[in-house]
């Protein structure tokens, strides 16, 4: 059992996401992370799904996904050299004084951007892999994290190879 990153090209139509996610719950698989957006192909969207399972289970999920009429292509990126990113927004308590300075130092170390400064809080924006985001969130806890929002993971194979349509 290990996490698999699946890239799913779908028709950009109403209801497609529920067809895809419904299939996971129906067949007893959990989605760890989900990200959806339009992509370079006109009329299509790309869904990136992280799902934990054994190889046979993931193969079955991919085959079932392929059976959906609105699914154009399914690829498992897991065995490829790839880059993966998530985006997090963190609203943290930062009274003027030492804690605010410390938080800004942490932001620099993590290459997080400060995108809002209020009288009592700061919003940080951080891009990176799961571990990096988890690490910063943990460090910020001592100051009091008021709100923590993160996207699902997106991924791309390194080099010239790309996940294109053509099922």
């Amino acid at each position: 059992m290990k996490p698999h990153t699946l890239s799913v090209l779908v028709e950009n139509k109403a209801g497609v996401l529920s067809r895809v996610t419904g299939l996971f719950s129906r067949r007893g698989y959990n989605i760890e992370s989900l990200a959806v957006g339009t992509c370079e192909e006109p009329g299509m969207s790309r869904i990136t799904i992280v799902c934990i399972g054994d190889d046979a289970g993931i193969e079955q999920v991919m085959k079932q996904l392929n059976k959906l009429i609105d699914v154009i292509k399914v690829s498992d990126l897991t065995d490829n050299e790839r880059v993966e990113r998530e985006l997090a927004l963190i609203k943290v308590n930062a009274e003027p004084g030492t804690s605010r300075a410390e938080i800004m130092q942490l932001a620099t170390i993590f290459r997080a951007q400060i995108i809002d400064v209020g009288t009592k809080t700061i919003i940080l924006s951080l891009t990176g892999d799961t571990e990096k985001i988890d690490a910063l969130e943990k460090l910020l806890h001592q100051y009091g994290v008021k709100e923590f929002v993160r996207t699902g993971r997106i991924a791309m194979i390194r080099g010239t190879k790309a996940v294109k349509s053509g099922k």
Binding site: A14, G15, R19, R26, Q60, I69, K167
Partner: protein, 558 residues
């Protein structure tokens, strides 16, 4: 200018549809108004579930796409069991439902239900059509998706304003539908076919395990030719009955939970399993680890997701069964004699025929055997679900594909009678029998009104034991005979039939079975035969749940 309703009705006719089964209601009024003077024949059922089953029975008997129609909300929800039944058995139907107007969608309007959401897990695909302009295209796609690849049900949900709106419209030409996300593989991979043929030559004890995919792809002739050319014995699943004539020397009969001993022994001893259009269902395999555990497996199926789903496969061949078998037949150069294996199998067949107690009491197996003898492989047999279904599978001699229609995957009680109505429209000249239990028949008994008013000559043979027999059998064997809610009160089915205007006879002795069946067949219209059979008869042999398929109980000489 054409309304959506007109585009729909004309579109159905352009797809070759002659008969649809349906039930009217508020939001389908525009469609029903269009049907009022259309040449498309509409059969009014008495419950929407029956419309879905009738479309399914029509599809299975004819090999064409069946069509049903219902209104929104309760009408659409009543179709669901029928759609799920078709989905599990890969039957091509198009279900059309009305929906509240687009302006009210999501508003909890009167008779609104999210039927595309509800049917998501039990349709091959479904559509909510929000623009009249899309209706014609969607209808073409629906027929294409339902009737190609691994066949299955497609639902089209049409809001009332979409069917009412009139637009400038011309039907599309005959060019084929193309969908970038749907391109089923028809032709099998040549190298895989070569590998399979090599493997067959290496085997000493091969068995063909054939299922519903052979019927669905109309490959029975190719299957028979392959079996006879290579001299490999054939066992079929419940869904595959009729793919090979029952009395063919290479036929082992059905395998699995209520299969023959010879079929289950052959599978267990085999060293090569040629699985064709099957899905290794739990009712077939029993304990999975023991199923064909000495065999290498070749699996031919149109659905890649079926390959390796339950059992590891050595040579997968994805493709249409008929196309793959034709390619295999064309490539056969060498043959091998499996004489020792065939003689062992003959021994099993002689030693373990299907048998039941003959002490003069009226037994259900006897009724099925007599019907089989009278029809001599002609006619179409539909069943309900439970003991009636298993006895028919065991004791009716099927000789041709599409003459056996039953709910295999979902096991839907109440399926048989409405499916028989659909089958009768597919094959108007044929005798169509629904073999029923008293429990199942009462699940769609209201369709007596449909057969009476339309003079549909379907015959119903009720194996009436006043029990929900299969559940009672499990209670007898595994729950210490505690018959919890499985006993049914006596019903005078002849009187019920008469009340609807249908003739019927009650039969209580063996001597009266044949004359009663003949009387039913000779009657022009529908007919009900109420066979009062031995109440606690069991279906044997039987593989207890979780056991290996060679560990069968019952069915030996008593």
């Amino acid at each position: 200018m054409k309304t959506g309703a007109k585009i729909l009705v004309e579109g159905l006719q352009r797809e070759g549809v002659e008969t649809i089964f349906g039930y009217p209601g508020g939001v389908v009024l525009p469609i029903y108004d269009e049907l009022y003077d259309s040449s498309l024949r509409h059969i009014l059922v008495r419950h929407e579930q029956a419309a879905a089953h009738a479309a399914d029975g029509f599809a299975r008997a004819s090999g064409r796409v069946g069509v049903c129609l219902a209104t929104s909300g309760p009408g659409a929800c009543n179709l669901v069991t029928g759609i799920a039944t078709a989905y599990m058995d890969s039957v091509p139907i198009v279900a059309i439902t009305g929906q509240v107007p687009t302006s009210l969608l999501g508003n909890d309007a009167f008779q609104e239900s999210d039927i595309t959401g509800i049917t998501l897990p039990v349709t091959k695909h479904n559509y909510l059509v929000k623009r009249t302009e899309d209706l014609g295209r969607v209808l073409r796609e629906a027929f294409y998706i339902a009737g190609t690849g691994r066949k299955g049900p497609v639902l089209i949900d049409i809001p009332k304003d979409v069917s009412m709106k009139a637009i400038e419209y011309e039907h599309p030409g005959p060019e084929p539908v193309t969908l970038r996300g749907y391109q089923p593989t028809i032709k099998g991979h040549a190298k895989q076919i070569d590998k399979a043929l090599e493997m067959i030559l290496e085997a000493e004890q091969p068995v063909i395990y054939a299922g519903g995919g052979v019927i669905a792809s109309d490959a029975s002739a190719e299957l028979l030719q392959l079996a006879e050319t290579l001299m490999i014995p054939v066992t079929t699943t419940l869904m595959g009955l009729g793919a090979i004539p029952c009395d063919h020397p290479l036929n082992l009969g059905m395998l699995g939970m209520h299969g023959t001993r010879s079929a289950n022994y052959a599978i267990t001893e085999s060293d090569l399993l040629l699985a064709i259009g099957v899905r290794f269902d739990d009712r077939v395999t029993g304990k999975l680890d023991s199923f064909a555990s000495h065999a290498r497996i070749i699996h031919i199926d149109i659905d890649p997701a079926e390959i390796g789903k339950n059992k590891k496969v050595d040579v997968p061949i994805v493709g249409d069964v008929r196309s793959v078998l034709q390619d295999m037949l064309a490539k056969i150069q060498k043959k091998k004699a499996y004489d020792r294996w065939l003689s062992r199998i003959r021994g099993w067949k002689e030693k373990h025929p299907l048998q039941y107690c003959c002490d003069g009491t009226l037994r259900p197996q006897y009724v099925v055997e007599q019907l089989s003898g009278i029809l001599k492989g002609e006619g179409i047999i539909v069943s309900e679900v439970g003991q009636n279904q298993m006895w028919t599978a065991q004791y009716f001699c099927f000789r041709k594909p599409r003459t056996w229609i039953t709910s295999g995957g979902l096991g839907t009680m109440g399926y048989g009678f409405p499916a028989a109505i659909g089958a009768q429209f597919a094959c108007p000249g044929q005798v169509v029998f629904d073999i029923a239990g008293d429990g199942s028949f009462q699940m769609n008994i209201q369709e007596l009104s449909t057969v009476a008013s339309n003079k549909i000559p379907v015959k119903v043979a009720i194996l009436n034991n006043r029990f929900l027999g299969m559940v009672r059998q499990w209670q007898e064997l595994f729950h210490n005979r505690r018959y919890s809610f499985t006993e049914l009160p006596p019903v005078d089915f002849v009187k019920v039939a008469n009340a609807y205007g249908v003739d019927g006879i009650r039969v209580e002795s063996c001597d009266d079975v044949v004359p009663a069946i003949k009387a039913a067949i000779e009657t022009d219209g529908p007919f009900v035969l109420d066979f009062r059979v031995e109440r606690e008869e069991n279906v044997f042999p039987m593989v207890p749940a979780g056991a290996a398929i060679n560990e069968m109980i019952g069915g030996q000489q008593r």
